[in-house]
Protein backbone atom coordinates (compact mmCIF):
# COMPACT_ATOMS: atom_id res chain seq x y z
CA UNK A 1 0.00 0.00 0.00
CA UNK A 2 2.86 2.37 0.80
CA UNK A 3 4.26 1.66 -2.61
CA UNK A 4 0.91 2.60 -4.06
CA UNK A 5 0.81 5.94 -2.28
CA UNK A 6 4.39 6.63 -3.19
CA UNK A 7 3.54 6.05 -6.84
CA UNK A 8 0.46 8.20 -6.44
CA UNK A 9 2.71 11.08 -5.45
CA UNK A 10 5.16 10.35 -8.24
CA UNK A 11 2.37 9.99 -10.76
CA UNK A 12 0.80 13.29 -9.79
CA UNK A 13 4.07 15.14 -10.27
CA UNK A 14 4.71 13.46 -13.61
CA UNK A 15 1.13 14.30 -14.45
CA UNK A 16 1.67 17.96 -13.67
CA UNK A 17 4.22 18.09 -16.47
CA UNK A 18 2.01 16.22 -18.91
CA UNK A 19 -0.90 18.46 -18.01
CA UNK A 20 1.03 21.60 -18.88
CA UNK A 21 2.05 20.14 -22.24
CA UNK A 22 -1.43 18.79 -22.89
CA UNK A 23 -2.90 22.28 -22.50
CA UNK A 24 -0.96 23.42 -25.56
CA UNK A 25 -2.11 20.47 -27.63
CA UNK A 26 -5.69 20.93 -26.66
CA UNK A 27 -5.70 24.69 -27.29
CA UNK A 28 -4.18 24.37 -30.73
CA UNK A 29 -6.39 21.44 -31.64
CA UNK A 30 -9.40 23.29 -30.34
CA UNK A 31 -8.78 26.25 -32.59
CA UNK A 32 -7.37 24.84 -35.84
CA UNK A 33 -7.97 21.10 -35.48
CA UNK A 34 -4.31 20.33 -35.96
CA UNK A 35 -2.23 17.90 -33.95
CA UNK A 36 0.83 20.04 -33.54
CA UNK A 37 3.42 17.28 -33.50
CA UNK A 38 6.15 19.84 -32.89
CA UNK A 39 4.64 20.80 -29.54
CA UNK A 40 6.50 18.09 -27.61
CA UNK A 41 9.75 19.42 -29.03
CA UNK A 42 8.88 22.96 -28.00
CA UNK A 43 8.63 21.52 -24.50
CA UNK A 44 12.16 20.08 -24.74
CA UNK A 45 13.29 23.43 -26.07
CA UNK A 46 11.81 24.89 -22.88
CA UNK A 47 14.21 22.80 -20.83
CA UNK A 48 17.17 23.83 -22.96
CA UNK A 49 16.14 27.49 -22.89
CA UNK A 50 15.86 27.32 -19.09
CA UNK A 51 19.28 25.76 -18.94
CA UNK A 52 20.71 28.49 -21.14
CA UNK A 53 19.14 31.19 -18.96
CA UNK A 54 20.49 29.59 -15.78
CA UNK A 55 23.91 29.46 -17.37
CA UNK A 56 23.65 33.14 -18.28
CA UNK A 57 22.67 33.92 -14.71
CA UNK A 58 25.65 31.90 -13.57
CA UNK A 59 23.48 29.56 -11.52
CA UNK A 60 24.68 25.98 -11.31
CA UNK A 61 23.66 24.92 -7.82
CA UNK A 62 21.04 25.41 -5.15
CA UNK A 63 19.96 29.00 -4.56
CA UNK A 64 18.43 30.15 -1.26
CA UNK A 65 16.24 32.94 -0.01
CA UNK A 66 14.94 35.85 -2.08
CA UNK A 67 17.51 35.21 -4.81
CA UNK A 68 15.75 31.91 -5.47
CA UNK A 69 12.50 33.67 -6.25
CA UNK A 70 14.29 35.98 -8.64
CA UNK A 71 16.12 33.16 -10.39
CA UNK A 72 12.96 31.11 -10.73
CA UNK A 73 10.93 34.01 -12.03
CA UNK A 74 13.52 35.01 -14.62
CA UNK A 75 14.11 31.45 -15.78
CA UNK A 76 10.49 30.38 -16.02
CA UNK A 77 9.30 33.59 -17.63
CA UNK A 78 12.28 33.58 -19.99
CA UNK A 79 11.62 30.00 -21.07
CA UNK A 80 7.94 30.77 -21.48
CA UNK A 81 8.58 33.81 -23.64
CA UNK A 82 11.17 32.08 -25.82
CA UNK A 83 8.99 29.01 -26.31
CA UNK A 84 5.94 31.15 -26.92
CA UNK A 85 7.77 32.99 -29.68
CA UNK A 86 9.00 29.71 -31.14
CA UNK A 87 5.41 28.51 -31.28
CA UNK A 88 4.27 31.67 -33.02
CA UNK A 89 7.09 31.39 -35.57
CA UNK A 90 6.24 27.75 -36.26
CA UNK A 91 2.62 28.63 -36.85
CA UNK A 92 3.51 31.50 -39.12
CA UNK A 93 6.06 29.58 -41.17
CA UNK A 94 4.65 26.10 -41.36
CA UNK A 95 0.93 26.04 -40.68
CA UNK A 96 -0.74 29.29 -41.69
CA UNK A 97 -0.32 28.82 -45.41
CA UNK A 98 -1.95 25.42 -45.18
CA UNK A 99 -5.02 26.39 -43.22
CA UNK A 100 -7.32 25.69 -46.17
CA UNK A 101 -5.34 22.80 -47.61
CA UNK A 102 -6.44 19.17 -47.23
CA UNK A 103 -5.99 17.92 -43.69
CA UNK A 104 -3.05 15.73 -44.59
CA UNK A 105 -0.86 18.71 -45.52
CA UNK A 106 -0.51 20.51 -42.18
CA UNK A 107 -0.17 17.17 -40.37
CA UNK A 108 2.78 16.33 -42.57
CA UNK A 109 4.41 19.71 -42.04
CA UNK A 110 3.86 19.29 -38.31
CA UNK A 111 5.81 16.04 -38.40
CA UNK A 112 8.46 17.80 -40.45
CA UNK A 113 8.67 20.66 -37.95
CA UNK A 114 9.07 18.18 -35.14
CA UNK A 115 11.99 16.55 -36.96
CA UNK A 116 13.57 19.92 -37.65
CA UNK A 117 13.34 21.05 -34.03
CA UNK A 118 14.70 17.76 -32.72
CA UNK A 119 17.67 17.88 -35.01
CA UNK A 120 18.39 21.52 -34.33
CA UNK A 121 18.49 20.60 -30.65
CA UNK A 122 20.76 17.71 -31.55
CA UNK A 123 23.15 20.20 -33.11
CA UNK A 124 22.84 22.58 -30.23
CA UNK A 125 23.24 20.23 -27.28
CA UNK A 126 24.49 16.95 -28.74
CA UNK A 127 23.05 13.46 -28.61
CA UNK A 128 23.56 12.63 -24.93
CA UNK A 129 21.50 13.66 -21.92
CA UNK A 130 22.42 17.12 -20.66
CA UNK A 131 22.40 17.62 -16.86
CA UNK A 132 20.13 20.29 -15.38
CA UNK A 133 21.35 21.95 -12.18
CA UNK A 134 19.50 21.57 -8.91
CA UNK A 135 18.42 25.15 -8.31
CA UNK A 136 15.77 24.58 -5.72
CA UNK A 137 16.44 23.27 -2.24
CA UNK A 138 14.69 19.95 -2.16
CA UNK A 139 13.79 18.94 1.39
CA UNK A 140 11.84 15.72 1.67
CA UNK A 141 8.87 15.13 3.87
CA UNK A 142 8.01 11.73 5.20
CA UNK A 143 4.38 10.76 5.56
CA UNK A 144 4.69 7.31 7.06
CA UNK A 145 6.67 5.34 4.54
CA UNK A 146 5.84 7.75 1.73
CA UNK A 147 8.33 10.47 0.87
CA UNK A 148 7.27 13.68 -0.78
CA UNK A 149 9.91 15.89 -2.29
CA UNK A 150 9.54 19.64 -2.35
CA UNK A 151 9.99 19.68 -6.10
CA UNK A 152 7.04 17.34 -6.52
CA UNK A 153 4.87 19.81 -4.68
CA UNK A 154 6.20 22.62 -6.83
CA UNK A 155 5.38 20.77 -10.06
CA UNK A 156 1.81 20.18 -9.07
CA UNK A 157 1.34 23.67 -7.68
CA UNK A 158 2.78 25.34 -10.73
CA UNK A 159 0.60 23.28 -13.05
CA UNK A 160 -2.53 24.10 -11.09
CA UNK A 161 -1.71 27.81 -10.80
CA UNK A 162 -0.99 28.18 -14.51
CA UNK A 163 -4.15 26.29 -15.27
CA UNK A 164 -6.23 28.65 -13.13
CA UNK A 165 -4.60 31.67 -14.76
CA UNK A 166 -5.33 30.21 -18.17
CA UNK A 167 -8.96 29.46 -17.35
CA UNK A 168 -9.44 32.98 -16.07
CA UNK A 169 -7.86 34.38 -19.18
CA UNK A 170 -9.90 32.30 -21.58
CA UNK A 171 -13.23 32.88 -19.87
CA UNK A 172 -12.92 36.41 -18.58
CA UNK A 173 -10.97 38.47 -21.06
CA UNK A 174 -11.78 39.83 -24.47
CA UNK A 175 -8.90 37.98 -26.09
CA UNK A 176 -9.90 34.76 -24.38
CA UNK A 177 -13.43 35.13 -25.65
CA UNK A 178 -12.12 35.78 -29.15
CA UNK A 179 -10.19 32.52 -28.87
CA UNK A 180 -13.25 30.58 -27.86
CA UNK A 181 -15.35 32.16 -30.57
CA UNK A 182 -12.73 31.33 -33.19
CA UNK A 183 -12.51 27.77 -31.94
CA UNK A 184 -16.25 27.38 -32.28
CA UNK A 185 -16.80 28.90 -35.69
CA UNK A 186 -14.06 30.69 -37.58
CA UNK A 187 -16.33 32.27 -40.16
CA UNK A 188 -18.78 33.62 -37.63
CA UNK A 189 -15.92 34.91 -35.49
CA UNK A 190 -14.48 36.69 -38.49
CA UNK A 191 -17.84 38.26 -39.26
CA UNK A 192 -17.95 39.57 -35.70
CA UNK A 193 -14.69 41.36 -36.38
CA UNK A 194 -12.29 39.00 -34.68
CA UNK A 195 -8.86 38.87 -36.30
CA UNK A 196 -8.43 35.15 -36.91
CA UNK A 197 -4.70 35.25 -37.62
CA UNK A 198 -3.91 37.13 -34.45
CA UNK A 199 -6.13 34.91 -32.39
CA UNK A 200 -4.52 31.74 -33.70
CA UNK A 201 -1.05 33.20 -33.16
CA UNK A 202 -2.07 34.05 -29.62
CA UNK A 203 -3.17 30.48 -29.08
CA UNK A 204 0.21 29.20 -30.20
CA UNK A 205 1.91 31.79 -28.02
CA UNK A 206 0.10 30.71 -24.88
CA UNK A 207 0.19 26.98 -25.57
CA UNK A 208 3.90 27.06 -26.34
CA UNK A 209 4.62 29.26 -23.33
CA UNK A 210 2.97 26.63 -21.14
CA UNK A 211 5.19 24.02 -22.76
CA UNK A 212 8.13 26.28 -21.90
CA UNK A 213 7.06 26.28 -18.26
CA UNK A 214 6.71 22.50 -18.42
CA UNK A 215 10.20 22.37 -19.90
CA UNK A 216 11.66 24.18 -16.93
CA UNK A 217 9.76 22.01 -14.48
CA UNK A 218 10.87 18.86 -16.26
CA UNK A 219 14.53 19.91 -16.09
CA UNK A 220 14.17 20.59 -12.40
CA UNK A 221 12.29 17.37 -11.77
CA UNK A 222 14.41 14.92 -13.75
CA UNK A 223 17.74 16.74 -13.46
CA UNK A 224 18.49 16.23 -17.16
CA UNK A 225 17.04 16.21 -20.64
CA UNK A 226 18.02 15.29 -24.17
CA UNK A 227 17.04 16.38 -27.63
CA UNK A 228 14.58 13.54 -28.17
CA UNK A 229 12.77 13.92 -24.86
CA UNK A 230 9.79 15.71 -26.38
CA UNK A 231 8.83 12.90 -28.69
CA UNK A 232 7.63 10.48 -26.02
CA UNK A 233 6.45 13.17 -23.63
CA UNK A 234 4.53 14.83 -26.44
CA UNK A 235 2.76 11.61 -27.34
CA UNK A 236 1.79 11.04 -23.73
CA UNK A 237 0.61 14.60 -23.32
CA UNK A 238 -1.47 14.30 -26.46
CA UNK A 239 -2.95 11.12 -25.04
CA UNK A 240 -3.75 13.13 -21.93
CA UNK A 241 -5.48 15.80 -24.00
CA UNK A 242 -7.59 13.18 -25.77
CA UNK A 243 -8.35 11.37 -22.55
CA UNK A 244 -9.62 14.58 -20.98
CA UNK A 245 -11.57 15.62 -24.06
CA UNK A 246 -9.71 17.46 -26.77
CA UNK A 247 -10.38 21.18 -26.80
CA UNK A 248 -11.28 21.12 -23.11
CA UNK A 249 -8.81 22.89 -20.80
CA UNK A 250 -9.89 21.24 -17.56
CA UNK A 251 -9.92 17.94 -19.42
CA UNK A 252 -6.30 18.37 -20.47
CA UNK A 253 -5.39 18.93 -16.84
CA UNK A 254 -7.32 15.91 -15.66
CA UNK A 255 -5.96 13.78 -18.49
CA UNK A 256 -2.43 14.88 -17.69
CA UNK A 257 -2.67 13.78 -14.09
CA UNK A 258 -4.33 10.50 -15.06
CA UNK A 259 -1.64 9.68 -17.60
CA UNK A 260 1.02 10.51 -15.02
CA UNK A 261 -0.64 8.11 -12.60
CA UNK A 262 -1.01 5.38 -15.19
CA UNK A 263 2.63 5.69 -16.12
CA UNK A 264 3.80 5.63 -12.50
CA UNK A 265 1.64 2.63 -11.65
CA UNK A 266 2.72 0.70 -14.74
CA UNK A 267 6.34 1.36 -13.94
CA UNK A 268 5.81 0.14 -10.39
CA UNK A 269 3.50 -2.80 -10.87
CA UNK A 270 4.29 -4.08 -14.36
CA UNK A 271 7.59 -2.82 -15.64
CA UNK A 272 9.28 0.29 -16.84
CA UNK A 273 9.63 -1.23 -20.31
CA UNK A 274 5.90 -1.49 -20.79
CA UNK A 275 4.85 1.96 -19.64
CA UNK A 276 4.81 3.40 -23.18
CA UNK A 277 2.89 0.42 -24.46
CA UNK A 278 0.29 0.85 -21.72
CA UNK A 279 -0.10 4.60 -22.29
CA UNK A 280 -0.62 4.18 -26.03
CA UNK A 281 -3.05 1.38 -25.43
CA UNK A 282 -4.98 3.82 -23.27
CA UNK A 283 -4.95 6.27 -26.17
CA UNK A 284 -6.34 3.68 -28.55
CA UNK A 285 -8.98 2.53 -26.09
CA UNK A 286 -10.16 6.06 -25.33
CA UNK A 287 -10.35 6.91 -29.00
CA UNK A 288 -12.40 3.83 -29.68
CA UNK A 289 -14.76 3.89 -26.75
CA UNK A 290 -15.01 7.53 -25.80
CA UNK A 291 -13.49 9.69 -28.50
CA UNK A 292 -14.97 12.79 -26.90
CA UNK A 293 -12.86 12.12 -23.79
CA UNK A 294 -13.85 12.24 -20.15
CA UNK A 295 -14.99 15.85 -20.04
CA UNK A 296 -15.75 16.50 -23.69
CA UNK A 297 -19.35 16.63 -24.77
CA UNK A 298 -20.22 14.38 -27.65
CA UNK A 299 -22.12 16.26 -30.30
CA UNK A 300 -22.46 14.83 -33.77
CA UNK A 301 -20.10 16.52 -36.19
CA UNK A 302 -21.50 19.31 -38.26
CA UNK A 303 -22.28 18.04 -41.70
Amino acid sequence: MDVFFQQLINGLSLGGIYALIALGYTMVYGIIELINFAHGDVYTLGTFFSLAILTLLGVDSVVHGPALIGVLAVTILGAMILCGLTGVIIERLAYRRLRNAPKLAPLITAIGMSFILENLMLYWRGPSPVPFPQVIPNPQFALGAVTIQAKQIIVVLLAVVLMVVLQTFVYNTRLGKAMRATAQDKDAAQLMGIDINTTIALTFLIGSALAGAAGFVSGMYYGSTWFFNGFGAGLKAFTAAVLGGIGNLAGAMLGGFLIGLIEAMTTQFISDQWSNVVVFSVLVLVLIFRPSGLLGESLPNKV
Binding site: E297, L299, P300, V303
Partner: protein, 253 residues
Protein backbone atom coordinates in the same frame (compact mmCIF):
# COMPACT_ATOMS: atom_id res chain seq x y z
CA UNK B 1 -47.49 1.19 -50.47
CA UNK B 2 -45.48 3.41 -48.18
CA UNK B 3 -41.87 3.48 -49.29
CA UNK B 4 -40.57 5.51 -46.38
CA UNK B 5 -42.07 5.86 -42.94
CA UNK B 6 -40.86 8.05 -40.10
CA UNK B 7 -42.52 7.61 -36.73
CA UNK B 8 -41.94 10.08 -33.93
CA UNK B 9 -38.46 10.82 -35.20
CA UNK B 10 -36.64 13.30 -32.99
CA UNK B 11 -33.13 14.72 -33.24
CA UNK B 12 -31.59 16.79 -30.48
CA UNK B 13 -28.29 18.63 -30.65
CA UNK B 14 -27.39 19.46 -27.09
CA UNK B 15 -30.28 21.68 -25.99
CA UNK B 16 -31.66 22.23 -29.48
CA UNK B 17 -34.38 19.98 -30.85
CA UNK B 18 -33.79 20.19 -34.59
CA UNK B 19 -36.47 17.64 -35.50
CA UNK B 20 -39.33 17.07 -33.11
CA UNK B 21 -41.44 13.89 -33.14
CA UNK B 22 -41.81 13.86 -36.91
CA UNK B 23 -44.37 11.47 -38.39
CA UNK B 24 -44.19 11.15 -42.10
CA UNK B 25 -44.77 8.72 -44.96
CA UNK B 26 -43.90 8.75 -48.64
CA UNK B 27 -45.82 6.70 -51.17
CA UNK B 28 -43.80 4.86 -53.77
CA UNK B 29 -43.72 6.54 -57.18
CA UNK B 30 -44.58 10.03 -56.02
CA UNK B 31 -42.85 13.38 -55.98
CA UNK B 32 -43.08 14.97 -52.56
CA UNK B 33 -41.59 18.08 -51.06
CA UNK B 34 -40.66 19.43 -47.69
CA UNK B 35 -40.64 23.16 -47.13
CA UNK B 36 -40.10 25.41 -44.17
CA UNK B 37 -38.07 28.40 -43.06
CA UNK B 38 -34.28 28.20 -42.76
CA UNK B 39 -33.26 26.22 -39.71
CA UNK B 40 -36.60 24.40 -39.60
CA UNK B 41 -34.86 21.02 -39.54
CA UNK B 42 -35.38 19.91 -43.14
CA UNK B 43 -31.79 18.97 -43.90
CA UNK B 44 -31.55 17.30 -40.54
CA UNK B 45 -34.54 15.15 -41.54
CA UNK B 46 -32.59 14.09 -44.65
CA UNK B 47 -29.53 13.42 -42.54
CA UNK B 48 -31.61 11.19 -40.31
CA UNK B 49 -32.98 9.26 -43.27
CA UNK B 50 -29.51 8.63 -44.71
CA UNK B 51 -28.13 7.60 -41.35
CA UNK B 52 -25.75 10.49 -40.73
CA UNK B 53 -27.43 10.82 -37.36
CA UNK B 54 -29.15 8.17 -35.35
CA UNK B 55 -32.41 9.68 -34.11
CA UNK B 56 -32.66 10.55 -30.43
CA UNK B 57 -36.10 8.92 -30.55
CA UNK B 58 -38.42 7.34 -33.09
CA UNK B 59 -37.95 4.93 -35.94
CA UNK B 60 -37.45 5.06 -39.69
CA UNK B 61 -38.50 2.29 -42.06
CA UNK B 62 -37.69 1.99 -45.74
CA UNK B 63 -39.43 -0.47 -48.08
CA UNK B 64 -40.61 -2.48 -45.11
CA UNK B 65 -37.21 -2.62 -43.40
CA UNK B 66 -36.45 -0.83 -40.15
CA UNK B 67 -33.31 1.17 -40.93
CA UNK B 68 -33.11 3.13 -37.67
CA UNK B 69 -29.49 3.27 -36.60
CA UNK B 70 -28.13 1.71 -39.78
CA UNK B 71 -24.84 2.91 -41.20
CA UNK B 72 -25.09 5.39 -44.08
CA UNK B 73 -23.43 3.02 -46.53
CA UNK B 74 -25.93 0.26 -45.80
CA UNK B 75 -28.86 2.61 -46.22
CA UNK B 76 -27.43 3.81 -49.51
CA UNK B 77 -26.96 0.26 -50.72
CA UNK B 78 -30.55 -0.51 -49.79
CA UNK B 79 -31.76 2.14 -52.22
CA UNK B 80 -31.73 5.68 -50.84
CA UNK B 81 -29.58 8.20 -52.70
CA UNK B 82 -29.28 11.91 -52.16
CA UNK B 83 -27.79 15.23 -53.09
CA UNK B 84 -26.60 17.82 -50.61
CA UNK B 85 -27.64 21.36 -49.94
CA UNK B 86 -24.02 22.44 -50.38
CA UNK B 87 -22.88 20.31 -53.28
CA UNK B 88 -20.60 17.48 -52.21
CA UNK B 89 -19.17 16.09 -55.41
CA UNK B 90 -15.77 14.47 -55.50
CA UNK B 91 -14.24 17.66 -56.85
CA UNK B 92 -11.00 16.21 -58.08
CA UNK B 93 -12.50 13.24 -59.80
CA UNK B 94 -13.77 13.44 -63.35
CA UNK B 95 -17.50 13.59 -63.98
CA UNK B 96 -17.52 9.99 -65.12
CA UNK B 97 -15.53 8.82 -62.10
CA UNK B 98 -18.08 10.55 -59.90
CA UNK B 99 -20.84 8.60 -61.58
CA UNK B 100 -18.85 5.36 -61.47
CA UNK B 101 -18.38 5.89 -57.75
CA UNK B 102 -22.13 6.27 -57.56
CA UNK B 103 -22.40 2.77 -59.04
CA UNK B 104 -20.21 1.38 -56.27
CA UNK B 105 -22.92 -0.54 -54.48
CA UNK B 106 -24.10 -2.10 -57.75
CA UNK B 107 -20.66 -3.45 -58.68
CA UNK B 108 -19.22 -6.67 -57.37
CA UNK B 109 -15.46 -6.60 -57.97
CA UNK B 110 -13.77 -7.75 -54.78
CA UNK B 111 -10.22 -7.19 -53.58
CA UNK B 112 -8.75 -9.95 -55.73
CA UNK B 113 -10.59 -8.76 -58.84
CA UNK B 114 -9.35 -5.25 -58.21
CA UNK B 115 -5.78 -6.41 -57.62
CA UNK B 116 -5.50 -8.64 -60.66
CA UNK B 117 -7.98 -7.01 -63.05
CA UNK B 118 -9.56 -10.37 -63.68
CA UNK B 119 -11.61 -10.85 -66.87
CA UNK B 120 -14.71 -10.64 -64.71
CA UNK B 121 -13.55 -7.30 -63.34
CA UNK B 122 -12.75 -5.95 -66.79
CA UNK B 123 -16.13 -6.95 -68.16
CA UNK B 124 -17.87 -5.37 -65.21
CA UNK B 125 -15.89 -2.14 -65.51
CA UNK B 126 -16.65 -1.95 -69.22
CA UNK B 127 -20.36 -2.27 -68.61
CA UNK B 128 -20.19 0.18 -65.71
CA UNK B 129 -18.52 2.73 -67.97
CA UNK B 130 -21.24 2.34 -70.58
CA UNK B 131 -23.91 2.89 -67.97
CA UNK B 132 -22.03 5.87 -66.57
CA UNK B 133 -21.84 7.48 -70.01
CA UNK B 134 -25.54 6.91 -70.49
CA UNK B 135 -26.20 8.47 -67.10
CA UNK B 136 -24.11 11.51 -67.97
CA UNK B 137 -26.17 11.88 -71.12
CA UNK B 138 -29.37 11.52 -69.10
CA UNK B 139 -28.45 14.49 -66.89
CA UNK B 140 -27.06 16.44 -69.85
CA UNK B 141 -23.34 16.13 -69.18
CA UNK B 142 -22.26 14.28 -72.29
CA UNK B 143 -19.78 17.05 -73.06
CA UNK B 144 -18.08 17.07 -69.68
CA UNK B 145 -17.21 13.39 -69.24
CA UNK B 146 -13.58 13.88 -68.30
CA UNK B 147 -13.77 17.28 -66.57
CA UNK B 148 -13.03 17.55 -62.91
CA UNK B 149 -16.28 17.99 -61.06
CA UNK B 150 -15.10 21.13 -59.33
CA UNK B 151 -14.34 22.84 -62.65
CA UNK B 152 -17.95 22.55 -63.83
CA UNK B 153 -20.43 25.42 -63.66
CA UNK B 154 -22.61 25.47 -60.59
CA UNK B 155 -25.83 24.37 -62.27
CA UNK B 156 -23.95 21.59 -64.06
CA UNK B 157 -22.51 20.41 -60.77
CA UNK B 158 -26.02 20.15 -59.37
CA UNK B 159 -27.02 17.93 -62.30
CA UNK B 160 -23.89 15.83 -61.96
CA UNK B 161 -24.68 15.29 -58.31
CA UNK B 162 -28.11 14.04 -59.30
CA UNK B 163 -26.54 11.76 -61.89
CA UNK B 164 -24.13 10.37 -59.33
CA UNK B 165 -27.01 9.66 -56.99
CA UNK B 166 -29.05 7.99 -59.74
CA UNK B 167 -26.10 5.78 -60.66
CA UNK B 168 -26.71 3.78 -57.52
CA UNK B 169 -30.14 2.82 -58.94
CA UNK B 170 -32.03 4.06 -55.90
CA UNK B 171 -35.69 3.56 -55.10
CA UNK B 172 -35.82 6.88 -53.29
CA UNK B 173 -33.96 10.03 -54.31
CA UNK B 174 -33.55 12.85 -51.82
CA UNK B 175 -32.79 16.29 -53.27
CA UNK B 176 -31.75 19.01 -50.82
CA UNK B 177 -32.53 22.40 -52.41
CA UNK B 178 -31.74 21.27 -55.96
CA UNK B 179 -32.76 24.57 -57.55
CA UNK B 180 -30.69 26.77 -55.25
CA UNK B 181 -28.56 29.14 -57.30
CA UNK B 182 -30.17 28.20 -60.61
CA UNK B 183 -31.51 30.67 -63.15
CA UNK B 184 -35.07 30.32 -64.50
CA UNK B 185 -34.08 28.31 -67.56
CA UNK B 186 -31.99 25.92 -65.47
CA UNK B 187 -34.93 25.54 -63.13
CA UNK B 188 -37.17 24.57 -66.03
CA UNK B 189 -34.67 21.93 -67.07
CA UNK B 190 -34.55 20.72 -63.48
CA UNK B 191 -38.32 20.30 -63.32
CA UNK B 192 -38.21 18.27 -66.52
CA UNK B 193 -35.37 16.18 -65.18
CA UNK B 194 -37.16 15.44 -61.92
CA UNK B 195 -40.23 14.31 -63.87
CA UNK B 196 -38.06 12.08 -66.06
CA UNK B 197 -36.56 10.57 -62.93
CA UNK B 198 -39.97 9.83 -61.49
CA UNK B 199 -40.96 8.29 -64.81
CA UNK B 200 -38.11 5.84 -64.32
CA UNK B 201 -40.01 4.62 -61.27
CA UNK B 202 -37.90 6.46 -58.73
CA UNK B 203 -39.62 8.21 -55.86
CA UNK B 204 -38.41 11.78 -55.42
CA UNK B 205 -38.38 13.67 -52.12
CA UNK B 206 -37.12 17.22 -52.29
CA UNK B 207 -36.44 20.16 -50.04
CA UNK B 208 -36.89 23.43 -51.89
CA UNK B 209 -37.36 27.11 -51.21
CA UNK B 210 -38.63 28.05 -54.67
CA UNK B 211 -42.37 27.92 -54.01
CA UNK B 212 -43.40 28.09 -57.65
CA UNK B 213 -41.25 25.08 -58.41
CA UNK B 214 -42.48 23.17 -55.39
CA UNK B 215 -46.14 23.86 -56.14
CA UNK B 216 -45.69 22.91 -59.78
CA UNK B 217 -44.00 19.61 -59.26
CA UNK B 218 -45.05 18.11 -55.94
CA UNK B 219 -47.98 15.84 -55.29
CA UNK B 220 -47.71 16.26 -51.54
CA UNK B 221 -45.99 18.89 -49.42
CA UNK B 222 -44.95 18.76 -45.79
CA UNK B 223 -44.22 21.96 -43.91
CA UNK B 224 -41.72 22.00 -41.11
CA UNK B 225 -41.18 24.79 -38.60
CA UNK B 226 -38.89 24.62 -35.59
CA UNK B 227 -38.53 20.90 -36.16
CA UNK B 228 -42.27 20.25 -36.06
CA UNK B 229 -44.59 19.34 -38.84
CA UNK B 230 -47.13 22.16 -39.01
CA UNK B 231 -48.98 21.24 -42.17
CA UNK B 232 -49.26 18.58 -44.81
CA UNK B 233 -51.28 18.08 -47.95
CA UNK B 234 -51.43 18.76 -51.66
CA UNK B 235 -50.15 22.12 -52.96
CA UNK B 236 -53.52 23.84 -52.81
CA UNK B 237 -54.15 22.80 -49.20
CA UNK B 238 -50.71 23.86 -48.04
CA UNK B 239 -50.87 27.18 -49.84
CA UNK B 240 -54.02 28.19 -48.05
CA UNK B 241 -53.06 26.91 -44.60
CA UNK B 242 -52.92 29.85 -42.16
CA UNK B 243 -50.20 28.19 -40.06
CA UNK B 244 -47.96 27.97 -43.09
CA UNK B 245 -48.53 31.59 -43.98
CA UNK B 246 -47.71 32.60 -40.44
CA UNK B 247 -44.55 30.51 -40.32
CA UNK B 248 -43.28 32.17 -43.44
CA UNK B 249 -44.27 35.68 -42.48
CA UNK B 250 -43.15 35.22 -38.90
CA UNK B 251 -39.61 34.27 -39.84
CA UNK B 252 -38.55 35.51 -43.23
CA UNK B 253 -36.64 32.67 -44.86
Amino acid sequence: MALLTMEGVTQRFGGLTAVDALDFTIEAGSIVAMIGPNGAGKSTAFNLITGIYTPSAGRIAFAGTDITGWATSRIAALGIARTFQNIRLFGFMSAIDNVLTGEHARLHANLVDSLLHTPRQRAEEGAARERALAMLAFVGLEDAVESYARNLAYGVQRRLEIGRALASEPKLLLLDEPAAGMNPSEKRDLVALIRKIRDRGITVFLIEHDMALVMEISERITVLDHGEKIAEGDPAQVRSDPKVIEAYLGSPA
